[in-house]
Amino acid sequence: MNDVVIGVFASGGFDKAAQGLVGAGRRLADSLGSRLHVVLLGSAALTVADDFARVVDTVIIVDQAEYEPETCLSALTRLCVELLPRAVLLANDTYSQEITPRLAHRLGGSAVGDGVEVHIDGEALCVSRQVYGGKAQAVIELKRKPAVVWLRARSFSPANPRATTGEIRQAVLDVPADTRTRIIERKREASGAARLEEARVIVSGGRGIGGSEPFEMELKPLADLMGAQMAASRAACDAGWVPPTWQVGQTGKKVTPDLYLAIAITGASQHMAGISEAKNIAAINTDPDAPIFKHCRFGIVEDYRKVVPLLREKLVALQK
């Protein structure tokens, strides 16, 4: 069977990630001349089913319980054994990332992650992704079938709505709950960090900020003025100045804003790997040789402590 399945943990709704994922799936299915199914898991599955139905062939609602990795993995596996897809695509959220290799293993297939481009090359499915901390680009050829891939979903353009609506059905799977692990507490940050990947403007701080106070007292007011989300480099997170959910980079969020303002961030490749899709990057840094400037549209070489308060003043004046 040559169909393409996309797996979605529906808590995000039909957001940019979901749309990108569908777009990728659609184009891959078209190139295979096959159908596109979406599998919805999670408590919000029912509410988003219709949105998906407009762009895919089948919507399969698997489970509406809260996510549990072992149980969800078993359910998805069971379903894929039934559907026998050529490829399974997922997004870059936490659950998708952790399930992808395990699903591939159970299906006897091959997995890869952080794909920014997918295509078929003869018998193999090829995925492009950044490697070496963002310093290089690789094309990975997946040898076994099915290919299970998690994508940088927001990097893909959405699919056009189709003339006919897809079928929505509930899957009935007899999967016993696996209680070897269970989630006993869940915390969703209230600060809106979930929206970091959707943010159009981001103000981000790095090692040079020097402490947690300046994030709160200097950068936050600036971000508020600019209508921006806040983010940080790994160094700032490891120092405990900001929560780990703010981390942007190779092992953090991948963001696609119109403007990414990097304050006191050197611009190591691992960080750049998270902002490679930003449309404009600007930087405030005391070091004119900082690598970040090689990716900037504009910037200023100066101590952020001198720039940011003044910048806030100027922005207020310009906004009047």
């Binding site: 395990r102 090359d121 269970r182 869940r186 959910t245």
Partner: protein
């Protein structure tokens, strides 16, 4: 409790981008000026294990690596950080084996080393960044897996694992045995070993195996590419010209900066 931590030795990922070169034929990075270091997430995992042992004081930590013979240095450093035992499976085949190969070799070595209640890996490696070892290893061993963990506590013969998600965190209760992949956190920055311990580490025993010593299909492991392969490797050329704001006074320069920002965001 027996804990096993997997380590990977990689080229220093923090060399300046200018010094980074690849061999497009071999499809891997050139050694160049880079030193060999232990992958940082693996060190985070080891540090988490060490702190866990300090709190529960009833655990042994074994470190395991599948890599070139140079990987012995990474294992010695782990011993210097006070891991209890170390094992190296020497890779005499494909030096960039695919994730399934790695998982199979590690699983075979783990079975040979004994029983472990907690198996820890870093979430991904700083070179190829596949991030699959934890999951595939769990599947090979038939164990559950919890990923992106940054805190481990013991609780009535089970483990409480806090893991990071993109929206916050989740607290797991896990039965033993379990595979855990570790991510970086302000609390698991790896400790600096004492010089004395570094010296002593080279006198401690270190188990060394070849692929043939393990119960796996060693030829297939040497090929290391039945799961996936790197078809192409390149360094993308991407340079933008940065316009540094100019002006005689700080005020002028920040004024220009503000105007640039407004220009870009006004389109919103």
């Amino acid at each position: 409790m027996n804990i096993l931590v997997c380590l990977k030795q990689i080229l220093d990922p923090e060399i300046p981008a200018r010094d980074f070169r690849i061999d497009p034929v071999k499809r891997e990075a050139e050694r160049g000026t880079a030193n060999l270091v232990t992958n940082i997430f693996c060190e985070n995992a080891l540090e988490t294990a060490l702190q866990f042992r300090e709190r529960t004081s009833d655990a042994t930590i074994t470190v395991l690596c599948y890599g070139a013979s140079t990987a012995e240095d990474s294992l010695r450093k782990a011993l210097a950080m006070k891991a209890d035992a170390a094992a190296l499976v020497v890779n005499d085949g494909n030096q960039n084996p695919d994730p399934l190969t790695v998982a199979r070799v590690l699983a075979a070595a783990i079975r040979k080393l004994g029983t472990f209640e907690l198996i820890m890996v870093g979430r991904e490696a700083g070179d190829w960044g596949a991030g699959q070892t934890g999951g595939l290893l769990a599947e090979e061993l038939g164990l559950p897996c919890v990923s992106f963990v940054d805190r481990i506590e013991s609780s009535d013969g089970k483990l409480r694992l806090k893991r990071q998600t993109d929206t916050g965190w989740e607290l797991f209760e896990a039965e033993l045995p379990v595979v855990v992949s570790i991510t970086n956190d302000e609390h698991n920055v790896p400790r600096i070993p004492k010089v004395r311990d570094v010296m002593m580490s080279y006198r401690q025993p270190l188990t060394q195996w070849k692929l043939d010593d393990l119960d796996i299909a060693s030829d297939e492991a040497r090929a290391g590419n039945t799961y996936y392969e790197v078809a192409k490797l390149s360094i993308p050329l991407k340079e933008t010209h940065c316009e540094f704001v100019t002006g005689d006074t700080l005020d002028e320069r920040v004024e220009k900066l503000a105007k640039c920002i407004v220009e870009v965001t006004r389109a919103l």
